[in-house]
């Protein structure tokens, strides 16, 4: 990497490491079990979201079918652990099986473009879900249970998830800055033009699909090990695929930190809302998503000030100063809209 030229460049280099260090050192400060759990889930979903983002964000191939990899990761890890292997071996196994599956799915479907590819991925997930529902060796629709002998240690799960999300960020960064990443972006902009320039779109897509599937498979395995129970109607569900896709969309497609931010909104903000407002959590969360799209269609990460404010809103929700935080948030949105309006008039 080259030396950053200015302050913001330095910040960009330092901040991720600071964040990682803070997350790794967090348990020293004896945070609540709740925070550890939420951060664990955020890390797991961000990992899956980062995986999706490699294919959907960087290569522009929108897939609704990542539930397949999440579920395969979960089942492979569980089966390997059941056979007496270490869970970490299980995660690697989950990633491998997911990558393998990605080739089988990618080989036929990457011949398709645009919406046809999208629907083919839906078809694959649904078919896999129903088959898993009927497969006796995995317990069919009844689901699968992981029983670990040793006592439950939330911090071990937490660290595993943090390492996974760090790995996902690392892989994304390396790919984004490589020639391979350049090829991906070329495919996203114009597949035919990319092919003329000597990029083989088909194999490039297959490989990035495999990386994406691997990360999602790891996320599935880590989730499954902590959950202890899962079933096809959950991990292979269409909704799971949609969730994995929404995380980068909320945060910012094609960026590296967008999916991480999306994971925060998707897990921490969502659960905080549903815990506080039992009767209206769908509406509040839905309205929040609508606001995010309208104010920042490219994802939260694109808006410098907004996500600082969002953090404040989050803190506000935790400390009880919801109204104040909302006020700040709304003020920020109004400012943003005024800016958008000015932009439109200039056009």
């Amino acid at each position: 990497m080259t030396r950053p030229a200015n302050v913001s460049g330095w910040l960009r280099l330092i901040l991720p490491w600071t964040l990682l260090a803070a997350l790794l050192l967090l348990p020293v400060a004896r945070p609540s079990d709740n925070l550890i759990r939420l951060l664990f889930l955020t890390a797991v979903y961000s990992t899956a979201g980062l995986g999706w983002n490699l294919l959907g964000g960087m290569a522009g191939q929108v897939s609704f079918g990542f539930a397949v990899f999440f579920g395969l990761g979960a089942y492979t890890t569980a089966l390997l652990m059941h056979a007496g292997h270490s869970p970490y071996f299980g995660f690697i196994g989950g990633a491998s099986i997911a990558m393998l599956a990605s080739f089988f799915i990618g080989l036929p479907t990457f011949r398709l473009r645009g919406p046809y590819f999208v629907i083919a991925t839906i078809g694959v997930t649904e078919a896999v879900r129903v088959i898993m529902n009927n497969l006796d060796i995995t317990g069919g629709a009844s689901g699968y249970r992981i029983a670990e002998d040793k006592p439950f240690n939330p911090l071990e799960h937490y660290y595993t998830a943090i390492v996974a999300v760090a790995l996902a960020v690392l892989v994304s960064t390396i790919i984004a800055n490589s020639k391979f990443g350049l090829a991906l972006r070329a495919i996203k902009q114009d597949q035919d033009a990319a092919a003329d320039l000597g990029v083989n779109p088909f194999t490039t897509k297959l490989w990035i699909h495999a990386f994406a599937a691997g990360l999602t498979g790891i996320a599935g395995g880590i989730y499954a090990r902590r959950a202890g129970f899962f079933y096809p109607g959950d991990v292979f569900a269409f909704q799971t695929g949609i969730n994995i896709l929404l995380i980068p969309v909320i945060g910012g497609i094609g960026t590296i930190w967008g999916p991480v931010l999306g994971g925060v909104v998707f897990i921490i903000v969502e659960e905080t809302i549903s815990a506080k407002y039992q009767d209206f959590h769908l509406m509040i969360y839905g309205a929040l998503l609508i606001l995010i799209v309208l104010v920042e269609p490219g994802g939260l990460i694109k808006s410098k000030h907004l996500w600082v404010r969002l953090g404040k809103l989050l803190i506000g929700l935790f400390t009880g100063e919801t109204w104040k935080a909302l006020f700040v948030m709304i003020r920020e949105i109004l400012r943003k809209l005024r800016f958008l309006k000015a932009q439109h008039i200039e056009e």
Partner: protein
């Protein structure tokens, strides 16, 4: 199974296809003109069902009439939704993920509205025709309510097809589908047409919801299984034409119905046949969908439609 029994199932599959087509057609026009993947479609279906339910329980209006009344009401509602939310989306000639997120958020809001207004009971509409059927001979029975729903769906789709091809609005819609830039150059008001298209799509969603409400029980969570099927149908049908939707709906309905009653051949020391267990039923349409797409990458309608641009 006898030939008459297959015929009976074929009739039922075609009736089901009518319902499927009605529920998918709204999604198709919205997708065609605006490239919006409308996840809130399920929410509109749900509202449509409750709309005719309210008319039926409060004013004793026949649900078929309720479905027809839903058309103008949901047309206005859709235009309102477009005016408040949808038109701010960045324009694109490929499906944008921003639209996906927006409509997902809006779907959550609609669901919550449903829970706040109607609670979480499984409601349904019972009319004298709900449980009766027309019998032809011993083997064939055609449920009256499905027949009525089918007829309503077909009439409305024919009307839509006429609007599509005979009116200025329809022509601007088709122009926008084919080439948004060229359409604007020749004087199509992009915003106005989009607004009316979204209204039209919503009107059909509400209409289809009211029809579905006659066939199924519904709660504010209603619509999920139909959302997935709508996706499948509009892609099978080539994404932008009413006739394509009808074709996609027929293919899906027939596949779903016949996947478990047609003996499938397999080879193990000679040829045998077996019936697919019903628990595997959903595999067939989805697996076949993938196969069809792989063989015909542009959907069924792609056989006679023009080339699709890369997304």
């Amino acid at each position: 199974m006898t030939a008459v029994e297959y015929l009976d199932l074929l009739i039922k599959a075609l009736l089901l296809a009518g319902v499927y087509a009605a529920m998918a057609v709204g999604m198709t026009v919205v997708y065609g003109v605006m490239k919006i993947v409308n996840l809130a479609h399920a929410g509109f279906l749900m509202l449509g069902a409750y709309f005719s339910f309210e008319l039926f329980t409060r004013f004793h209006i026949d649900p078929i009439l309720g479905a027809v009344l839903a058309l103008p009401v949901f047309f206005v509602f859709g235009m309102l939704v477009h005016w408040v939310l949808v038109r701010w989306l960045p324009k694109s000639d490929t499906p944008t993920l921003a639209s996906l997120l927006l409509m997902f958020g809006f779907w959550l809001v609609l669901q919550n509205v449903g829970y706040a207004v109607w609670g979480n009971e499984d409601q349904s509409i019972l009319t004298p025709r709900t449980l009766s059927a027309v019998h032809i001979g011993d083997e064939i029975s055609i449920p009256k309510v499905n027949l009525v729903v089918f007829a309503a769906a077909v009439v409305c789709m024919i009307l839509l097809e006429i609007v599509f091809h005979r009116s200025w609005f329809g022509r601007s819609m088709r122009a926008l589908i084919q080439n948004p830039y060229a359409a604007q150059i020749v004087g199509v008001d992009d915003q106005r047409t989009s607004r009316m298209t979204f209204g039209l799509g919503t009107a059909f969603a509400g209409f289809a919801g009211a029809l579905l409400g006659m066939l199924y029980s519904f709660s504010p969570d209603f619509g999920r299984p139909f959302l997935l099927r709508s996706f499948v149908i509009i892609v099978l049908g080539g994404l932008e034409s009413v006739s394509g939707v009808a074709l996609g709906a027929i293919v899906l309905a027939i596949l779903e119905t016949f996947s478990t009653v047609v003996p499938l051949p397999w080879y193990w020391h000679g040829w045998h046949t077996f019936y697919l267990p019903p628990s595997y039923q959903p595999v067939i349409p989805f697996a076949l969908l993938v196969v069809v797409l792989v063989i015909m990458p542009k959907g069924l309608a792609g056989l006679f439609n023009r080339k699709w641009k890369t997304a």
